[in-house]
């Protein structure tokens, strides 16, 4: 705990040092930006003073601050994608600290038939290096395999790859899924999947904001080599009681939200609804249909507005998958896995210049598979408990300096108990304290230049590792070029966890940590980009990156049995690198909107026991990816959405030789051996067209309805998933391709919003 106290003391000390630098005679403007209809705070909304170069973005709580303003009259303009711009005239006196909360009304383009043609303007935070945000409306609109899904929507963005149609895992800029930190309301989520990896567990109805840091992420985040997905639940409607009901082919969802005397609340529930289908299939004597399968999610949040400067909230999430099935008569599978999170948040505004946020988080991941085959049991109890506290302070010194400092300390427990045939086969319990302290300073020496420097110190008790992570970002906005930002960034990142997972079946995921002899993995990221705002709400992003991955530690895939091994001997150590370029062209407004993304990517890794310790392409490495997503408002009530993706082939191993051992002393007629260059070949290209139509209107006068009809894989593309080679009895081999979803998948959903 000594480290925690040190971290807290340093935070306070830092603030004490900077607070006296306040300029007393200059005015300031600060407040929340909210959705006028719901009262939800809007994260990363733009707030600018027209006619000046002054502007900022709301933070993760929807709060903005403009300081060091000269006395006088200003036009404050607030913008947010999907909302109508608001202009407010204010006159500030010398030394005045004006609180100005701003409310924005949604566009409602489709219903009203209004085409908003706002000035093309670059949002502040959303246009930072490596950052992309996806609106929940976009997630709901995109054609989807059975159920709208946050991660599958993210997979359409350049730089993010999917392993297959069956996986919602995020492979970002050459990183495996464990290299992405996934947070829900500031709480780490350790295995975000439903249906064994097919879906992510985030109910789009319950979510307010999804923000993705693809790389070069700032010092306030840490613990992963690659990227961050930061998701926030809705606060709940502060103005009126509202609800939403959705019925889909796989699952149904419900949301209710509303105000109460001191704030707002929200409760969202989602549950799979395929139970009757499974029962019908079982009754029709279809083989291998599970006796039981369902998943559910519950999201809830309560806000307590204690005053203008204090807000408290409690957020909960609980989700799980439950499977009971029997295969081949004697193979019984009983599986429960899922996540639970709880977070308590206190937002306190010390002054217009000093904003703070304190959070307590608690995360639980459980996976309890039980197999019984011929009365031979295999069972596992896998638990992760992660309890933490974090504090973040934002201090706006003046229009040139802003500072963020914070800490994050917690206790991580991983428990893994395996039994085989009634006897314990593995008992592991890892408990470790971890802590981090960060400083992140943004300096704008001129209107054209911005320098962002950061330093994060990470301490991980298991192995006693203290690591420093410097961050640096440089931005140049040449006035002569208008809405253009040129950016470069660098960061070092450490990771103290590794994930044992399978692309086939994510329900058995196990996280392991560093320890004595198992040093943390680390990597450097170099990122450069240009953000260009064109006319008519069109933005163009171009980014390039190079990143290294050192001291990667993954479970030795050749280890048949871990019993009796020293912890450090369970791992295979390796390294890797990735580089690439991405282009993202989006049109955010008008009847025709959408985006086009292209990425070029190269990823290589190497491990001692694979490919003779030479670099190889991991399976998820694809060189070229294109995605085109368009929405077109056919009329006031109909919208068409089309998504087409193309990716060059993934890496795979095609054996080119074989031999047999014929004198096996253990009774095999022969041992058949394949000889291959590891992952040296490429599967055929992947491409898929999805489209859908959305109809909206009034439902018997008491609710708005939304009906969606969609088609996935419209032209029945048989995209390859993987290739395997088997030996035939006559000594020949047979190499076969297993396809991804080979047919058109229809999808229907109906939603009521009241």
């Amino acid at each position: 705990m000594r480290f925690v106290r040190s971290v807290a003391s340093l935070s306070v000390l830092w603030l004490l040092l900077v607070v006296p630098t306040w300029a007393q005679q200059r005015a300031s403007l600060s407040g929340f930006v909210r959705d006028a209809t719901t009262g939800e705070t809007l994260l990363l909304a733009n707030v600018v003073l027209e006619g000046t170069s002054l502007g900022t973005a709301t933070n993760n709580a929807g709060y903005y601050t403009l300081t060091n303003l000269a006395a006088g009259a200003y036009t404050v303009r607030a913008t947010f994608i999907g909302f109508q711009d608001v202009r407010v005239e204010v006159t500030l006196a010398a030394g005045e600290e004006r609180r100005l909360d701003i409310e924005l009304s949604p566009d409602d383009v489709a219903l009203e038939g209004v085409v908003v043609t706002a000035e093309a303007e670059l949002e502040e935070e959303n246009r930072n290096l490596g950052v992309q945000a996806v609106s929940t409306e976009t997630i709901r609109q995109l054609p989807t395999i059975l159920e709208p899904d946050v991660f599958r929507s993210l997979q359409l963005l350049p730089g993010i790859k999917a392993a297959s149609d069956f996986s919602s895992g995020l492979y970002i800029r050459g990183g495996s899924p464990d290299q992405t930190l996934i947070m829900l309301d500031r709480t780490t989520v350790y295995n975000p999947s439903h249906l064994f990896g097919f879906f992510s567990p985030f109910n789009p109805d319950a979510i307010k904001d999804v923000r993705l840091y693809k790389g070069g992420y700032p010092a306030e985040y840490g613990g992963r080599l690659g990227s961050v997905v930061d998701i926030y639940n809705k606060d709940g409607n502060r103005n009126e009681y509202r609800g939403r009901l959705s019925v889909g082919l796989l699952a149904s969802r419900g949301l209710i939200e509303g105000p109460y005397k001191y704030g707002s609340w929200m409760l969202a529930v989602r549950r799979s609804t395929i139970d009757p289908l499974l029962a019908a299939l079982r009754n029709a004597d279809i083989a291998n249909i599970p006796e039981k399968y369902f998943f559910y999610d519950i999201n809830g949040k309560v806000n307590f507005d204690a005053g203008d400067n204090d807000r408290f909230s409690v957020s909960v999430y609980a989700g799980a998958d439950n499977l009971e099935a029997t295969f081949f008569e004697d193979l019984d599978i009983d599986l429960v896995y899922g996540n639970q999170t709880l977070s308590g948040n206190w937002t306190h505004i010390f002054s217009p210049r000093l904003f703070s946020n304190f959070t307590f988080t608690s995360a639980l991941y459980r996976s309890d598979p039980v197999f019984n085959l011929a009365n031979t049991d295999f069972s596992r109890i896998n638990r992760i408990y992660d309890n933490s506290v974090k504090g973040d302070f934002e201090y706006i010194s003046n229009e040139r300096h802003s500072l963020k400092v914070g800490f994050w300390s917690g206790n991580f427990i991983m428990r893994l108990n395996d039994t085989f045939d009634g006897n314990p086969s593995l008992n592991t319990r890892i408990q470790t304290f971890y802590s981090a302290l960060y400083v992140d300073e943004t300096f704008k020496p001129t209107g054209e230049w911005q320098v962002r420097t950061g330093l994060r110190a990470n301490y991980f008790a298991e192995g006693d590792y203290l690591r420093l992570e410097p961050r640096l970002g440089l931005e140049y906005r040449p006035e002569a070029l208008g809405n253009v930002r040129l950016q470069v960034g660098y960061g070092r990142y450490y990771q103290f966890l590794t994930l044992i997972t399978s692309e086939l079946f994510s329900a058995f995921d196990v996280w392991l940590t560093t320890d004595d002899g198992v040093a943390p993995a680390f990597g450097d990221q170099f990122v450069a980009g240009a953000k260009i705002g064109l006319n008519d709400g069109i933005n163009l992003d171009i980014e390039g990156y190079y990143r290294t991955m050192e001291d990667l530690f993954v479970l030795d895939p050749f280890l048949p049995d871990a019993a009796g091994f020293d912890y450090e001997d369970l791992f295979m150590r390796g390294d890797g690198f990735a580089y690439g370029g991405e282009v993202f062209l989006e049109k955010t407004e008008g009847r025709l909107n959408g985006f086009v993304g292209y990425s070029f990517a190269v990823t290589r890794r190497r491990f001692p026991l694979l490919n003779d310790f030479n670099y190889f392409s991991p399976k998820y490495d694809r060189t070229h990816d294109i995605s085109i997503v368009t929405n077109y408002d056919l009329s006031r009530r109909w919208r068409a959405t089309v998504a087409w993706v193309y990716g060059t082939g993934q890496a795979f191993t095609r054996p080119n030789g074989q031999y047999k051992l014929l004198d096996d002393p253990f009774g095999n007629a022969s041992r058949d051996v394949l000889v291959a260059d590891f992952n040296a070949q490429r599967l055929d290209a992947y491409h898929r067209l999805d489209f859908g139509f959305t109809n909206i209107g009034r439902f018997f006068g008491f609710a708005d309805y939304e009906f969606q009809i969609q088609a996935i894989n419209a032209y029945f593309r048989k995209n390859p998933w993987f290739v395997f080679t088997e030996f035939n009895d006559d000594g020949t081999t047979e190499t076969s391709q297993v396809n991804q979803i080979p047919v058109l998948i229809p999808n229907l959903s109906f939603s009521l919003k009241f």
């Binding site: 291998n288 295999f378 050749f558 993934q650």
Partner: protein
């Protein structure tokens, strides 16, 4: 096709393999796309030493392109010089065993001294000189011998709580715990004796009859007559008061009712590496589907295995449940 449903793996790799099996079983389509590009022919050596048993033969052959057929007669390598060196504890050569080509089988080489046995806890080095100038070499340390102290429940009802178990004296291997491989051989591998799980696994169409509709031929039973575990570590097992290891036989390992022979083999590093990586090559690991690593061989100049082991046998009976 080869069927090997009888391993009793206990780690995540086993579950991955199971998931792969389920994915394929549940109707994911497949089509043939073979391509032999990039093949390079290599020499293959195969030789095993069993502790306190006569030193066996050495087999030499070559690999074949993936679209070919491995016909040993056609691929055998004759005219090679083969010898095995027994190292003294100080690393010097204590004895040289020369091998001669079999007069009747090309590619087979046998020790000239037929009485020589493989000594436990000793290092042997195999050296092969091929007429084209290529050389192959490999070393093995022979695991120590061990024995069966007692057999518990030698005649047990299938899937009952009272399992067959062996009490074994522990083997010894320098520098590490022992790795064991267990082999269960049915002595009456008939269709009537198939245990329910294996029957259902073969019965693809679920009609309760094994026939051509299930891609089944009677000779397939011979393929599953013998089942092997993956390598299992000594640390898995309870140590009895007398120092012996109690090794229960999982029912998962049993494919047939009736008399069986169970063998426990302690493996050297070479066999351990070969067998564990063979399992990964067949799809059981944390690697993504379609990622096929090469077998871990410890042969300089070629491929194959020069392995050693120590082994004990025990017979028992699997009784049909009521």
């Amino acid at each position: 096709m080869t069927r090997r449903p009888e391993t009793w793996d206990v780690n995540p790799a086993a579950m991955t393999r199971l998931a792969l099996l389920l994915a394929l079983t549940l109707g994911v389509g497949a089509c043939d796309i073979s391509d032999p590009d990039g093949f390079e022919r290599e020499y293959i050596v195969e030789a095993y030493l069993e502790a306190m048993q006569p030193i066996g033969q050495v087999r030499l052959s070559q690999s074949v392109p993936i679209d070919g057929v491995f016909d040993f007669d056609a691929l055998s390598v004759g005219g090679a010089e083969v010898r095995m060196l027994l190292e003294a504890p100080d690393g010097s050569i204590e004895r040289t065993l020369d091998f001669a080509p079999s007069p009747s089988e090309r590619g087979i080489y046998r020790a000239l001294d037929a009485s020589a046995v493989a000594l436990p806890r000793r290092t042997y080095r195999l050296e092969v000189n091929i007429p084209d100038g290529s050389t192959l070499s490999a070393s093995t340390i022979v695991p120590d011998t061990f024995s069966v102290v007692r057999v518990n429940n030698p005649s047990a009802v299938y899937a009952s709580d009272d399992q067959v178990s062996l009490d074994l004296t522990p083997s010894f291997y320098p520098g590490r715990q022992s790795y064991y491989l267990f082999t269960v051989e049915s002595l009456q591998p008939t269709q009537d004796n198939l245990v329910p799980f294996i029957f259902a696994f073969i019965d693809d169409n679920g009609d309760g009859v094994l026939d051509a509709d299930d891609d089944f031929e009677p000779d397939d039973l011979l393929d599953i007559r013998i089942g092997n575990s993956p390598p299992l570590n000594e640390a898995n097992y309870t140590v009895n008061a007398d120092g012996s290891l109690n090794v229960p036989l999982p029912w998962l390992a049993v494919a047939f009712y009736g008399p069986t022979t169970t063998a426990a083999s302690a493996l050297d590093d070479n066999l351990y590496d070969f067998i564990r990586s063979e399992a990964v090559q067949q799809g059981g690991s944390t690697l993504s589907p379609g990622e096929v690593p090469n077998i871990l061989t410890r042969i300089e100049g070629g491929k194959g295995v020069f392995g050693s082991f120590a082994r004990v046998f025990q017979e028992g009976i699997v009784v049909r449940e009521e």
